[in-house]
């Protein structure tokens, strides 16, 4: 087995995102104050309070369950959280800190989801599954929901290994194709009476960014002719309440903007599976150009039809190009853009390029 040496997402960060999905209002990271700094700051924009136990060398040497317990109590006094998420870090887990004991000592065990993961626990999905397992033990989610999510996460992990950025030892960064050129291609396709299929196959809140393409494509189609087919993983009946509400919100905005969804391919947290459904539908009736956004590598239609893949991160984009998608656009940082208490569709780079090109 070859080692993947480029930076990878962390199980600790994945655990924190999952705690947010479970509507934990405060997350305590038992670790040094800089651990997972960026995800922590992003989650704060989503209305979750994130604090750390600010471990220092002394705490590592002497142990710090007592300190953690005090931090938990303090957090309870300061923020009166309904549900606390408590996650480990490399430092605290390696010295064998007992998160549950600290929560019990603080008298807060009944409202604290404890998650024993650290940076070296494995795939990032390990962190998400650990949180969900704890949530099930606490009766916060059902067995069915746990099993469904675990299945999805395991599929996602496999997808990353087979077709994602975990598939090779090192992937170079690459900025992607120029959005203006792709916008031109899209307009040409519409203007010549062709069909563009738009596939939204995004993960949770990042859908608020990728969904913008549907708005831009629909308005370009109205202006230049041709046809547009929309496939989206926006089933409002699947997933945790928070995640379902995203689908509802996006579908409402689609309706207001005159975007018709032709096929719902699955739920917003089902991208490994919904990607396969989207593939089936596209292959059965190939469009002239398929625009696949979010997690395009879950929709394996490269080589079968002309494709535009839209994703985030210069490494993911580089990977998509080498998989064989014809054009690849790097979007704005989807988490950065779409986290925030007021959830609404956000302007995307390709969407804007298309609007500008159409205005010429």
């Amino acid at each position: 087995m070859s080692v993947i040496i480029h930076p990878r997402p962390s199980p600790v960060a994945a655990a924190m995102y999952t705690l947010r999905d479970l509507d934990a209002d405060t997350i305590v990271l038992h670790g040094p104050s800089g651990c997972c700094f960026r995800p922590a700051r992003l989650l704060e924009r989503d209305g979750v309070r994130v604090v750390t136990s600010a471990l220092l060398e002394d705490d590592l040497v002497f142990g710090s369950e007592g300190k953690l317990s005090k931090v938990l109590k303090r957090v309870d006094e300061m923020f009166s959280p309904r549900l606390i998420g408590l996650v480990g870090s490399c430092a605290s887990m390696i010295i064998g800190e007992d998160l549950k004991k600290a929560a019990r000592d603080a008298g807060l065990l009944n409202k604290t989801i404890c998650c024993n993961v650290h940076g070296g626990s494995g795939d990032n999905t390990v962190g998400a599954i650990a949180v969900l397992r704890e949530a099930r033990e606490m009766g916060l989610i059902s067995d069915e929901e746990f099993n469904r999510q675990r299945f999805m996460l395991e599929r996602a992990t496999r997808l990353e290994r087979e077709r994602g950025t975990a598939r090779s030892e090192y992937i170079e960064n690459w900025p992607g194709d120029r959005p203006k050129e792709i916008a031109k291609k899209l307009i040409e396709t519409f203007a010549s009476g062709g069909e563009v299929a738009f596939v939204l196959n995004a993960k949770k809140e990042t859908s608020f960014l990728y969904a913008d393409l549907a708005l831009a494509l629909a308005s370009a189609r109205r202006r230049f002719g041709g046809s547009l087919r929309v496939l989206a993983n926006l089933d409002p009946k699947v997933g945790l309440p928070r995640v379902r509400s995203y689908s509802v919100k996006i579908l409402e905005e689609f309706e207001a903007e005159g975007v018709v969804v032709d096929s719902i391919t699955g739920g917003i947290d089902e991208y490994p599976i919904s990607g396969e459904r989207a593939k089936e539908l596209l292959v059965r009736d190939p469009p002239d150009l398929a625009v696949i956004s979010g997690i395009p590598h879950a929709v394996a239609v490269e080589g079968v039809m002309k494709t535009v893949a839209v994703s985030v991160g210069s490494r993911a984009v580089s990977n998509l190009k080498s998989l064989g998608y014809d054009y690849v656009v790097a979007e704005r940082d989807a988490h950065q853009v779409s986290l925030g208490e007021k959830k609404q569709i956000r302007r995307s780079i390709l969407g804007q390029a298309l609007r500008e090109e159409a205005a010429h």
């Binding site: 002497f62 142990g63 710090s64 369950e65 010295i95």
Partner: protein, 261 residues
């Protein structure tokens, strides 16, 4: 300056030999530093008559404590330091040792001593406990063993660890020696390529001195045992041999010890 680190199976007599050897050499007028590296901080009790303040505890309180606060002079002028560490069952003693030794050698010039002795807890169970050898604070290790199988087993494991670290061993100290057992330790020593620097017999006297929290050198300087320990101490101090040791496959070790029982 010379430096040695005592390693060996738990409870085999590392701290007893380290403090007695320090006392004997101190009594001969040499400048000795004994650094206790065990979180239970019991290496220097018999030289000081009590437990001294522990370096890591002080570092926790005041970050950069002055050496005068954690270096105390014990019997025969031996300078004593206890690194200390966490309570049993929490934190990370290995990390503590790394942090403590680095600080000690940063703020205190240990080269001013004739001999520095590090008394390290039991086997090298983690990277931290190997720091004394790995980062070169001690020139060589001494392996304390008795003639019991489990003690030789631990000694062999240590040799294996030292071999993989590329660390040097200066000799074997044969503790609780018995007339019938010497051949086992002798075979072990020749197989791993490390000489026996001396042996200290199993002795009631040592245990009594221990109860009085004294070294035998202090409590009965004229005793036979004091003489034996003093001569072992001299061999330790004068020893100039060291090598990266060999180690033995477990089957061979078993055979070696089962031989003529």
């Amino acid at each position: 300056m010379k430096s040695v680190a005592f390693y060996g199976k738990g409870g085999i007599g590392k701290s007893t030999l380290a403090s007695n050897i320090a006392a004997a050499l101190g009594a001969d007028g040499l400048k000795i530093l004994l650094v206790g590296c065990d979180p239970k901080a019991d290496s220097t009790i018999n030289l000081l008559g009590r437990r001294p303040p522990q370096l890591l505890e002080l570092m926790k309180q005041e970050k950069r404590p002055d050496p005068s606060k954690f270096i105390e002079e014990g019997f025969a002028g031996v300078a004593c330091v206890e690194i200390g560490g966490p309570e049993p069952g929490v934190g990370c003693a290995g990390r503590g040792l790394i942090v403590g030794i680095r600080y000690l050698t940063e703020v205190f010039d240990i080269r001013r001593f004739d001999l520095v002795i590090f008394d390290v807890p039991a086997d090298i169970v983690c990277g931290g406990l190997a720091v004394v050898m790995k980062e070169g604070y001690s020139e060589s290790a001494l392996i304390v063993t008795s003639d019991e199988f489990m003690s030789l087993y631990a000694a062999n494991n240590l040799c294996r660890g030292f071999r993989s670290l590329g660390a040097r061993v200066g000799g074997v100290l044969y503790n609780r020696s018995t007339t019938g057992g010497r051949r086992y330790v002798g075979r072990f020593s020749s197989r791993v390529g490390v000489p026996i620097l001396g042996d200290v017999p199993l002795s009631e006297e040592l245990i009594r001195a221990d109860r009085a929290r004294k070294t035998i050198i202090e409590s009965s300087p004229a005793s036979n045992l004091s003489g034996i320990i003093s001569s072992v101490a001299k061999s330790v101090y004068l020893n100039s041999f060291s090598c990266v040791p060999n180690w033995i496959q477990i089957e061979e070790l078993e055979e070696m010890c089962a031989g003529d029982s």
